[in-house]
């Protein structure tokens, strides 16, 4: 390894900034998974009978499935019986109605993360539904949303208060048996967010949730369901950070989006789970199923993600383009450093006629990181006039990392127009020296190059999130120069 390469890797190496543990007593189930555990979780969540049945069905399916092994990731086998499947902060019964009622320790945690709730709330009217471990502890701006009929609440609350909506849409896009991790999630999911935007309503604020893992050895199984009814619009932001841990933690979330005729859902994620130490020990395993369905004409779903964390990322936010003229978009930045591995991409399934999709994927690999783009563009026989544009760019820092691109294409209709572009760029000593010769510090040079590389994705993020994403990349690079 040349000294320049060493320096580049030193730059992108950093101590995980969110590595601290909040001391809140957890109410945790012992490790292991069987039907009794599923029943216990259901009981803890005060599930109505339909929900318990749904979980049990998922559990039965999961038992008959095997872990997928096709992804370009490498990790020791997970012992699913060594994981505890439920953890909640103490006294979830009296969940706070306002910030004043929130555990000050928790607020402190957010402060440390630089996400002071108070400020967040004041800023641009963002409603925050904070998921701390497995139970939602703070929900704000509910009243404003209720005024226009928007439902934004913890999933468990939706199960109790809006059972008809939940029954109608839960599993409608990601069925219980969709894949191994989705089945697991369906059996044991703890909580998450539920959003319903009624016909013709433009949601008056960005909806955001912060996830955080905080109990040793506890899998985190979020379930999010967003339904945008005809002609409505909603922008949803998801961001997460996690404290430093020694043992790998499993995270298997499911996100389902349903956009009816003329509706638009914009789903943005900044993911910063603990990636493990320089050798990859202790990082989060992030196996996520995210899928949206454009159910009606001219519906539109956009996924934007900035993935910087996790030891392993396995994630393919996808869109089913069922309605005619519907639109699917996927904008992604995935950064892997040290021993991080990411296998991420999207699936765009063109079903209706004159549907279109755009895929912009930016993979950044540093250290010994392995970054894989895996995408499928599928155009079924009946999908007349489908269009897809895909662009997959890789940025390599140093010479020990890897970038891999697997763009799968299945075109069954001859009227389709499909374009694919791919580039690979190396940031080497030459580029850094060039910038430094112009007076930029090495950090600023890297950050400029990385931000330049990602700008097509960043500009898709809502303003405050774009700033946060840039900051995140900045933090990732900060302090590494002595």
């Amino acid at each position: 390894m040349s000294s320049a390469t060493a320096e580049i890797s030193a730059l992108v190496d950093r101590e995980y900034k969110e590595g601290f543990v909040t001391d809140i007593e957890s109410d945790t189930l012992p490790p292991g998974l069987d039907e009794q555990v599923v029943r216990a979780i259901s009981a803890k969540k005060n599930d109505p009978p339909f929900m318990l049945e749904w979980r049990l069905e998922a559990f039965r399916r999961w038992q008959a499935m095997v872990e997928p092994s096709w992804a370009h990731v490498d990790y020791p086998p997970i012992d699913f019986q060594a994981i505890s499947y439920y953890s909640a902060p103490r006294s979830p019964e009296d969940a706070p109605k306002s910030l004043d009622e929130v555990d000050p320790k928790l607020l402190e945690t957010y402060e440390k993360l630089g996400i002071p709730l108070q400020e967040q709330k004041a800023l641009a009217g963002v409603a925050v539904d904070a998921v701390f471990d497995s139970v939602s502890v703070a929900t704000t701006f509910k009243a404003n949303l209720a005024e226009v009929g928007v439902i934004f609440c913890p999933f468990s609350e939706a199960v109790r208060d809006h059972p008809d909506l939940v029954k109608k849409y839960l599993g409608a896009v990601v069925p219980q048996g969709d894949n191994y991790y989705a089945a697991l999630n369906s059996a044991v999911f703890s909580d998450g967010s539920f959003v319903y935007v009624p016909k013709g309503v433009r949601c008056p604020m960005e909806l955001s949730t912060y996830f955080r893992i905080n109990a040793m050895n506890t899998g985190q199984f979020e379930r999010t369901l967003i339904v945008a009814d005809e002609g409505s619009y909603v922008s949803y932001l998801e961001g997460c950070t996690a404290p430093m841990r020694d043992e790998n933690q499993l995270h298997a979330a499911v996100v389902e989006l349903v956009a009816m005729e003329g509706a638009q859902i914009k789903y943005s994620t900044v993911q910063n789970w603990y990636p493990g130490d320089a050798e990859g020990r202790g990082g989060i395993y992030n196996f996520v199923t995210k899928r949206g369905a454009c159910r009606g004409k001219r519906a539109k779903i956009s996924w934007t993600q900035v993935e910087t964390g996790s030891a392993i990322t396995w994630k393919y936010p996808s869109v089913l383009l069922e309605g005619d003229e519907s639109i699917g978009e996927f904008y992604s930045v995935a950064l892997t450093n040290n021993r991080q591995q990411a296998d991420t991409g999207t699936k765009m399934v063109h079903i209706g006629s004159n549907t279109s999709s755009t895929i912009i994927s930016k993979g950044i690999s540093a250290g010994r990181g392995q970054n894989t783009y895996r995408g499928l563009v599928k155009i079924i026989k009946g999908a007349e006039g489908a269009r897809n544009y895909s662009q997959c760019d890789s940025l390599l820092m140093g010479d020990q990392c890897g970038a891999h691109t697997y763009p799968y294409l299945e075109v069954k209709n001859p009227t389709a127009i499909v374009e694919h572009e791919a580039t690979t760029t190396k940031i080497g000593e030459d580029q850094l020296f060039y910038c430094r010769q112009r007076g930029l510090s090495e950090e600023d040079a890297i950050s400029m190059i990385v931000n330049g590389f990602c700008k097509e994705v960043f500009r898709e993020l809502p303003m405050e999130f774009a700033v946060e994403a840039q900051k995140l990349l900045g933090i990732s690079l900060e302090g590494a120069v002595g």
């Binding site: 040349s2 000294s3 320049a4 580039t423 760029t425 000593e429 030459d430 580029q431 020296f433 060039y434 910038c435 430094r436 010769q437 112009r438 007076g439 930029l440 510090s441 090495e442 600023d444 400029m448 190059i449 330049g452 590389f453 700008k455």
Partner: protein, 257 residues
């Protein structure tokens, strides 16, 4: 302004510069000529602080700084500019963005405030004219897809924006047709003012037809084998480098020990 004393540099254990002595006073233009592989770029890179060169002996004083103790960016902020022999492509970063960052880094170092957008644009337009570059260059990624000549012009444009105290131009003339050469030369000549010193590194004499140096030094096999005024360049053109290399071999002991 710049004083190089008995500089010996190795690359990977191989001696490249074998005792360089050079003094450049404020406002002077010096030219270094020499055959390929004689060490011209090595000298330019060592002065700019590039990694991979081992300074075995000697010292370099720049203003009142020990130049070799500064990082590349500190040198740049102190007004040392290198026009690269091979300008680097940076996809994804626009030219104008890099230049803005560069100009502001220098200004910050001098304790000045950042240029506002209007002043910056005014300056940019003025300097673009100097090198006859179109404004669209600003919005293209740094050197990405530029022709050889465009890259060299871009270097001079950056130099004009940054307004360095000492500009080192490493073979800015090579690969240019005669029209481009004239443009680059007039750009450099326009920069020739006040205390600004310029070190021209070139393989060919023809650049010196357009930029008249105060001093010419001939580098061969890591040593200056001859120094003189602008006439030395012509002499060299007539006799060829072979003539001087013979002198270098016979006069191996002449550099300061």
């Amino acid at each position: 302004m710049l004083s190089i004393s008995d500089l010996m540099v190795e690359v990977g254990g191989k001696p490249i510069l074998k005792g360089i002595n050079l003094n450049i006073a404020a406002g002077e233009v010096h030219a270094i000529m020499g055959p390929n592989g004689s060490g011209k770029s090595t000298l330019a890179n060592v002065l700019a602080g590039r990694e991979g060169y081992d300074v075995m002996r000697g010292s370099v004083t720049y203003g009142d700084h020990d130049l070799l103790a500064l990082t590349p960016e500190e040198r740049a902020r102190e007004g040392l500019f290198l026009a690269f022999q091979y300008p680097v492509e940076i996809p994804g970063v626009t030219n104008v963005y890099l230049i803005k960052e560069a100009v502001n880094a220098q200004r910050k170092h001098r304790g000045e405030s950042e240029l506002d957008a209007i002043d910056f644009l005014k300056l940019v337009r003025q300097k673009l004219q100097l090198v006859e570059m179109k404004e669209e260059f600003l919005h293209r990624p740094v050197n990405h897809g530029f022709s050889g000549g465009e890259k060299k012009r871009n270097e001079i444009f950056q130099m004009a924006m940054i307004e360095p105290r000492l500009a080192i131009l490493d073979e800015t003339d090579s690969g240019l047709d005669i029209d481009a050469l004239k443009v680059v030369a007039s750009g450099v000549n326009a920069m020739r003012q006040g205390d600004r010193s310029i070190l021209l590194v070139t393989h060919y004499q023809r650049l010196l037809d357009y930029i008249e140096p105060d001093h010419v030094h001939v580098l061969a096999d890591g040593r200056f084998v001859k120094s003189g005024d602008k006439h030395l360049a012509r002499e060299l053109e007539e006799h060829g480098y072979g003539w001087l290399e013979e002198q270098a071999d016979s006069g191996a002991g002449q550099s300061a020990a």
